[in-house]
């Protein structure tokens, strides 16, 4: 079963975290070794980090189907900072992986305990339909 683990970050104070050098380094090292672990466990399908919201554009089609870009990102409390897609045997395993990411170290090395949204990735048809 594949799950997408979405790391949502609070919009307030978004952007490059202004943490002490040592804490930033610890955070980055944690994220790199977390990714390495997922790769080595044979569970990683994909992972991407996304740009900060100031690089985001909202796009809609106009009446001719042409893109209208809106530079102003709407005020929302959270934004998607990045995601992992994992292929695991049970949902509990996906939750465990998410909990690990959630506890990434923040300022002072304390766990951030940030919310990670876990959602199943839709699959193909079920084995039998009656």
């Amino acid at each position: 079963m594949k799950y997408m683990l979405m790391m949502n970050t609070m919009r307030a104070g978004h952007g490059v975290p202004e943490w002490p050098h040592k804490d930033l380094q610890a955070h980055i090292a944690f994220m790199m070794s977390f990714l390495k672990e997922l790769r080595e466990s044979g569970e990683l399908v994909a992972a991407e980090g996304l740009s900060f919201p100031d690089q985001a554009k909202l796009v809609r089609a106009d009446k001719n189907g042409e893109p209208i870009t809106d530079g102003v990102f709407p005020e929302s409390k959270e934004f998607l900072a990045g995601y992992w897609i994992v292929d695991v045997d049970t949902p509990e395993r996906a939750y465990r992986i998410a909990a690990k990411a959630s506890a990434a170290p923040g300022p002072g090395g304390a766990p951030l305990n940030m919310p990670i949204e876990v959602r199943p990735v839709m699959s193909g048809p079920p084995p039998e339909m009656l």
């Binding site: 079963m1 466990s41 044979g42 990683l44 839709m122 699959s123 193909g124 048809p125 009656l130």
Partner: protein, 425 residues
């Protein structure tokens, strides 16, 4: 990427893979490295044979190439160790000869099946390892079939091999007594591979490895090795009788078509006859297991030229037996459908009420989907719509979600049509 070989070469390689692996393990006594070496030999064959032609003794060729790979590996390990200790003793480079083993006509396929489907492994590890070590597929092909990166699949296989090493499984057949239990794991893994063939593919894709075909091939090979096992025959029959309906199961764009709406002329009659013959022979042997029962149910469906010809009392009787042999909640749900077809929807709905206390099922979309279907049969369309929508919100299968939301939409329209007509009058 090597060019893909013609299907006959591919078939030959997959047939030979477990035999070659068995021979290399017998010579070098190292499953994990032998498995890697055989994989490299297979890839070498895929690249070389289409240009140079298939060798006279393809099996011997593969054993030779894999053994040479093993020898090279051993040499470099010894050299590394020698460098580390700064003692270069050429005389220590003792490697087994690569001449042909007198014992090479041994077929170790069965041992490999037991090993790769060892209960100590998780199902995903067992599936991946079985496809590679017994099925002779490349890591790339397996990764593609499961839609994960090749590096991820390689890690999964290597961890599965570590798991086997750690559990200390000997390279020999389990005792007669143990075999019964272990065969159950093997059949379960093959059954999962077969079902994965349905869930991971979403339309005709010639490039994609057909996992369900691969499962049928592997089950055929174990049936050949254990012709007396009626459950092996039952599983093979179940796969064939289910696969026979494959073309009719989906319409344009991968839309799901339920059994009663399928174009039955698309069903594969050759597969149906083979499945029924296998099942008939297996049933005459006495002990009846869960795969034979499921195959028997599939056979009754396949036997009906039109949905209304389906022998539902027979299916209901088979589900009664299956229910006493298996604690799978899906069986209970299908039993309720069969009961509804025989005794009417209210009987089916009554059976479902008993399941409302099952915490696992109440969270599962299938309970809502079945209830919606039976409510529709009973003519309670508003309630059916509610349950179709609940089921749609809970399924993790995209084609099934489309199917369920479409059912709800269709019923809603008939409801509003009905309202419009009444207000016209």
């Amino acid at each position: 990427m090597p060019e893909s070989p013609d299907p006959s070469t591919e078939h030959l390689l997959r047939e030979l893979a477990p035999q070659v692996l068995g021979a290399v393990i017998r010579r070098f006594h190292d499953f994990a490295s032998a498995e890697d070496a055989v994989q490299e030999a297979l890839i070498a064959a895929i690249t070389q044979w289409p240009q140079q032609g298939v060798p006279d003794n393809p099996r011997g060729w593969l054993i030779q190439v894999a053994s040479r790979r093993m020898t090279d590996q051993l040499r470099s390990d010894i050299a590394r160790r020698a460098r580390e200790t700064a003692v270069m003793l050429q005389s220590e480079l003792v490697v087994p000869p690569v001449d042909l083993d007198p014992d090479m006509n041994h077929d170790d396929t069965l041992i490999l099946f037991f090993m790769c489907c060892h209960p100590a492994l998780t199902s995903s590890s067992a599936i991946a390892l079985t496809l590679r070590a017994v099925g002779g597929l490349t890591t790339g092909e397996i990764a593609h079939a499961f839609m994960v990166p090749e590096a991820t699949m390689a890690q999964r296989i290597s961890r599965a091999k570590q798991g086997i090493k750690a559990s200390g499984v000997p390279f020999s057949l389990p005792s007669q007594r143990e075999q019964v239990q272990r065969l159950r794991s093997v059949l379960h893994v093959l059954y999962l591979i077969f079902n994965e063939g349905y869930t991971s593919s979403s339309g005709p894709d010639l490039q994609r490895l057909e996992l369900s075909q691969e499962a049928i091939r592997l089950t055929r090979s174990i049936h050949k090795l254990l012709p007396e096992s009626s459950e092996v025959a039952g599983l093979l029959a179940l796969m064939l009788l289910t696969d026979a309906r494959r073309l009719a199961r989906t319409g344009a764009g991968g839309v799901l078509i339920p059994l009663d709406k399928q174009d039955r002329t698309l069903w594969d009659q050759a597969e149906i006859s083979e499945g029924i013959a296998l099942l008939t022979a297996a049933l005459s042997k006495g002990s009846i297991g869960i795969y034979q029962l499921q195959a028997a149910i599939a056979a009754v469906h396949d036997d009906a030229a039109r949905p209304e010809d389906t022998d539902w009392p027979q299916i209901l009787a088979l589900y009664e037996l299956l229910k006493s042999a298996s604690d799978n909640p899906m069986v209970v749900l299908n039993h309720a459908i069969a009961a509804a077809m025989v005794h009417g929807p209210s009987k089916g709905l009554e059976l479902l009420t008993a399941l409302d206390s099952d915490p696992w099922l109440t969270e599962h979309h299938r309970l809502d989907a079945v209830r919606a279907h039976l409510l529709e049969m009973a003519g309670d369309h508003p309630a059916a719509i509610t349950h179709y929508r609940r089921a749609a919100s809970r399924t993790t299968s995209l084609p099934e979600r489309n199917y369920l939301t479409t059912q709800a939409a269709r019923l809603s329209e008939t409801l509003s049509d009905h309202t419009n007509h009444s207000s016209d009058q």
